[in-house]
């Protein structure tokens, strides 16, 4: 609760709304105590005095009544009526909602059908019908506005009650023999009241507006009594000759409703947990880059694609999560590099950083370079980056149900992948899309092209994802756990497909996975990541045969082997460290059986020959021995 108020207080707009609203309420409360002229005393000699006239600060209306006094009394009335209407609607709506939700079954059905029926009306029609039946008058307008809003409360409260009615404490109360009435009053109601209060606070502004509206139409408060709406209604006939009589009550309504809305928004934001974490921000077109030292825009590199000392962080509020801290790697044409690690090791972030696809905010690339044939793409301007994306460096993502657009046909998504890089006619695009689907071995490609993603199986969707990556004959494919969501046989098919494509087209592949089994099947070389760093790298077979880093050894031990007898499968104890508070030295040390004091005392370098290296002081096998 205190966290809630803190959040609310941090929202300056909401605080402003609260202050203004507070002032208006205080003013309304002390109105009877103020030395005001009687609001209903007419003085036709003094009609339509302008504001700042002697004795009448805001002037007078068409009957010579003091506008300041009428405004304050009218505000008081409008607030009271709005509040009463909200309270009435909330109580009645909550009663209906609780009964429907608690009893369920037929009771629920009948009540909710009735509520739906009321909601089928544009609200004012219902309000007008009620006023028509009861006759114009402030109390009748209040009843009309309340009744119109009952369905809103009933629906909300019913939803919550249904959830509560099946909770253990309600069952316990039933078993204890409590009557339904007592359960509702002592178990359900206390849990529902906060929701009622919040719903009420967000609708009060609306209620004030509505009752003012009915009064404006002449169906609410009747002369000489006036709320803000009827003041405005009466002033309308003199709008052109004496606008101040209309402007004054109108502005007052605006002030009240706006401050309530500001406050309501603040309350809603403070209550929405997704906004608390700052997660509800949209990623920009490219990841934000904020590098202290800018590497050369172009240098000679050995590989086709190479990363140099890449740093990517997530800045959330005051915390900095170092997702990637100094990763260097490279791939040559026709080569497949596996990047392996547990979830949270930074392998996906590394891959997404290459083309600026890390969600930003909160992602920031804080250092290093990603070079395609020597050209650094991290500092590249957006148009250049866009033209490289999908054309030279293509991605295959995990879980194609989420990564394909749900409302576009797969064919259109394929054609778009081509057409956003070069002009292509409709028929050519379609023919090419069918070719692509065939090349990833999708049967009946001519028919499948018109399917939506949800009409396909997981394996088929993954093939579509691969086809899309192949659309522009890219040089590099970055595959981010493309087989994780699939079952084993489909996984094997996808892997052999990727392998064939690599051989046929000379593709360089960066393959991200957490599964050493997959790496063994597909990758020439492998880099093992832990807590945002590469801890070991080398040719796949060498690493598999003789893992040097204790973490690599544990990862390999996690892979079950068929026919390998009763080898004990070992899970790695503990969890990867949170990357906002990394320990000194080796991040794996707290989980490592070989760890010694020295491991956590200083930076440990990635040491070894050019292709085989390990970041460990006490490796399982020393690399020199192995090469000897």
């Amino acid at each position: 609760m205190s966290a809630f108020f803190k959040l609310l207080a941090r929202n300056r707009m909401a605080l402003g709304g609260l202050v203004v609203m507070g002032l208006v309420v205080v003013l309304a409360l002390i109105t009877p105590l103020l030395p005001l002229i009687d609001p209903d005393v007419t003085n036709t000699a003094d009609r339509f005095q302008p504001p700042f006239s002697p004795g009448h600060l805001l002037g007078t209306d068409q009957l010579g009544r003091d506008l300041l006094s009428r405004l304050l009394w009218g505000t008081r009335l409008s607030l009271a009526v709005g509040f009463a209407a909200a309270l009435f609607a909330a109580v009645a709506g909550a009663a209906v909602g609780i009964i429907a939700g608690f009893y369920g079954g037929r009771t629920d059905n009948v009540i909710m059908r009735g509520v739906d029926m009321l909601m089928a009306f544009p609200y004012i029609l219902l309000a007008l019908a009620i006023v028509a039946a009861l006759g114009p008058g402030l109390v009748n307008a209040l009843i009309a506005v309340s009744v119109v809003n009952i369905p809103f409360f009933a629906r909300n409260i019913r939803g919550i009650t249904v959830g509560l009615a099946h909770k253990e404490f309600v069952d316990a109360a039933k078993l204890a023999g409590m009557s339904n009435r007592r359960i509702i009053l002592s178990e359900i109601l206390p849990n529902v009241i906060p929701v009622i209060v919040i719903a009420m606070s967000t609708t009060i502004g609306w209620m004030i507006l509505e009752t003012a509206g009915l009064s404006f139409l002449g169906l609410g408060s009747q002369p000489p009594q006036a709320d803000l709406g009827s003041m405005l209604g009466e002033a309308r006939s003199a709008l052109i000759t004496n606008p101040h009589t209309s402007v004054i009550p109108g502005i007052m309504i605006l002030i009240i409703v706006m401050s309530i809305n500001l406050l309501g928004d603040g309350v809603r934001d403070a209550l929405d947990p997704r906004l608390k974490s700052g997660a509800l921000s949209r990623p920009m077109a490219a990841t934000r880059v904020d590098r202290k030292d800018k590497p050369a825009a172009r240098t000679q590199t050995e590989g086709l694609l190479s990363l140099e000392n890449l740093h990517t962080q997530f800045h959330v509020k005051n915390r900095v999560y170092k997702a990637v801290s100094g990763v260097s790697l490279s791939v040559k044409p026709g080569e497949c590099l596996g990047v392996i690690g547990e979830s949270g090791s930074g392998k996906s972030v590394t891959a997404l950083s290459i083309m600026g696809l890390v969600a930003s905010p909160p992602g920031v690339i804080t250092g290093g370079a990603a070079r395609l044939e020597g050209r650094d793409m991290i500092g590249a301007p957006y148009p250049e980056l866009r033209s490289l994306r999908g054309r030279r460096v293509a991605y295959i993502f995990q879980d194609p149900l989420a990564t394909l657009h749900p409302l576009y046909k797969v064919g259109d998504q394929l054609i778009e992948a081509i057409s956003c890089h070069r002009a292509i006619s409709k028929s050519d695009g379609r023919a090419k899309a069918i070719d692509l689907l065939r090349s990833v071995r999708i049967p009946n490609a001519e028919e499948r092209i018109d399917s939506y993603p949800h009409e396909m199986s997981g394996g088929m969707r993954q093939r579509v994802g691969i086809a899309m990556a192949l659309a522009n004959d890219p040089d590099v494919i970055i595959a981010d756990e493309p087989t994780t969501a699939l079952d084993v046989t489909v996984q094997a098919q996808i892997l052999s497909l990727l392998n064939d494509l690599r051989r046929e087209r000379g593709l360089a592949i960066i393959f991200i996975t957490h599964d050493f089994g997959v790496v063994a099947q597909l990758c020439d070389r492998v880099a093992v990541m832990y807590a945002g760093r590469i801890v070991e790298t080398g040719p796949t077979m060498a690493v598999l045969d003789a893992p040097a880093h204790p973490y690599t050894a544990r990862l390999i031990a996690c892979v079950p082997e068929l026919g390998a007898g009763k080898r004990k499968l070992e899970a790695i104890p503990g969890l990867p460290p949170s990357v906002d508070e990394l320990p000194m030295g080796c991040a794996f040390a707290p989980r490592c059986l070989r760890a010694q004091e020295a491991c956590q005392q200083g930076e440990i370098a990635l040491a070894g020959e050019d292709t085989r290296a390990v970041r460990c002081l006490f490796p399982e096998t020393t690399l020199a021995e192995e090469t000897a």
Binding site: L254, A285, R386, P406
Partner: protein
């Protein structure tokens, strides 16, 4: 698709039936004697009895309801005593005028609201976002009738750009340009609140969609940012925007009552308020039932549009 539309229409029948029951029951709550209200100072016992017989008010409630329903099904909504004219004729004529006003506003609020909300989301926390958010907040807080009055003062009285009120000029009007000149202010005043609501909703729907994985896929393909926002993201966001448009239509229709009064627009809202003040019950009943039924049908159109947009909805 045809089957789906038919199913939705069939499901609407009980709803419209329920609406007639609710309206009839509300009207039956009227205290006192409608005959006395109609006759005013001519209310001699003989006259009252005659009116009651003429209106069928001497029969039991249930019978009266079914007579009323039966007659409505035959297009007979009764006769308005204050206008001395068949209710249905008056309702159709007035509703047509309201449709011109509310329809224009509805299109405005939909188009402007979605564009403003999408820009706001795409430029989250930027200047455009803050400006739009503020204008939207102002828009949803200002009572439409007050806004209308201020517009009259500014655009009609001060600047003399547009006529103060009415639907056509009294002399020499009646053509389309004349209608547009008269329509501009009320339609705008009516659209403001709904635009604000649609903009807010569109903003949050777009923010929600822009975080989805398929947006990242589109960017990874090399799709330009303009197409990502106005194509991929908006298309997906429409799925959650469209259902709210149906509710907004109800708000526009409701707001039209105030705007018609402020701008002297000869629509059904003004007719209803006048009828209430005159206690012309048949006119109120007929008008409310007619508009509510149209609203139900409109919501079916919205649902059908939704199913056309989202192939995942089983039709």
């Amino acid at each position: 698709m045809g089957g789906y539309i038919l199913k939705r229409l069939l499901l609407a029948i009980p709803v419209i039936f329920g609406i007639t029951v609710i309206v009839f029951l509300i009207m039956a709550m009227i205290p006192g004697d409608p005959a006395t209200a109609i006759l005013g100072s001519y209310a001699t016992p003989d006259n009252v009895a005659k009116i009651n017989r003429d209106l069928g008010l001497d029969k039991p409630l249930v019978t009266r309801y079914f007579i009323w329903l039966w007659n409505m099904l035959h297009g007979d909504f009764g006769t308005s005593f204050s206008l001395n004219r068949p209710v249905i004729d008056e309702v159709l004529e007035r509703f047509n005028n309201t449709l011109i006003l509310a329809g224009t506003s509805f299109v405005m609020c939909t188009v402007l609201g979605i564009i403003a909300g999408s820009i706001s989301a795409a430029r989250q926390y930027g200047f455009a976002d803050k400006a739009i958010t503020f204008v939207v907040l102002l828009g949803i807080s200002i009572p439409s009738f007050f806004l209308g009055m201020m517009m009259i003062l500014f655009f009609a009285v001060d600047l003399r750009w547009l006529p103060v009120s009415g639907m056509y000029a009294i002399y020499g009007g009646g053509d389309l340009p004349d209608l547009i000149r008269h329509l501009t202010m009320p339609a705008l005043a009516l659209a403001v609140v709904a635009t604000g609501v649609v903009a807010r909703l569109s903003r949050s729907a777009m923010l929600e969609v822009l975080r989805q994985d398929f947006i990242r896929t589109a960017r990874a393909k090399g799709v330009g940012e303009g197409r990502v926002i106005w194509g991929h993201a908006l298309r997906a966001a429409m799925v959650s925007i469209i259902p709210v448009l149906g509710i907004q239509a109800g708000f526009v229709l409701s707001g039209a009552v105030y705007i018609e009064i402020v701008f002297q627009w000869p629509g059904i809202g003004r007719m209803l308020v006048d009828a209430i003040l005159q206690r012309d019950i048949l006119l109120v009943q007929g008008g409310v039932v007619f508009v509510a039924a149209c609203y139900v049908i409109f919501n079916i159109i919205v649902d059908v549009a939704q199913s056309l947009l989202d192939p995942r909805i089983k039709t």
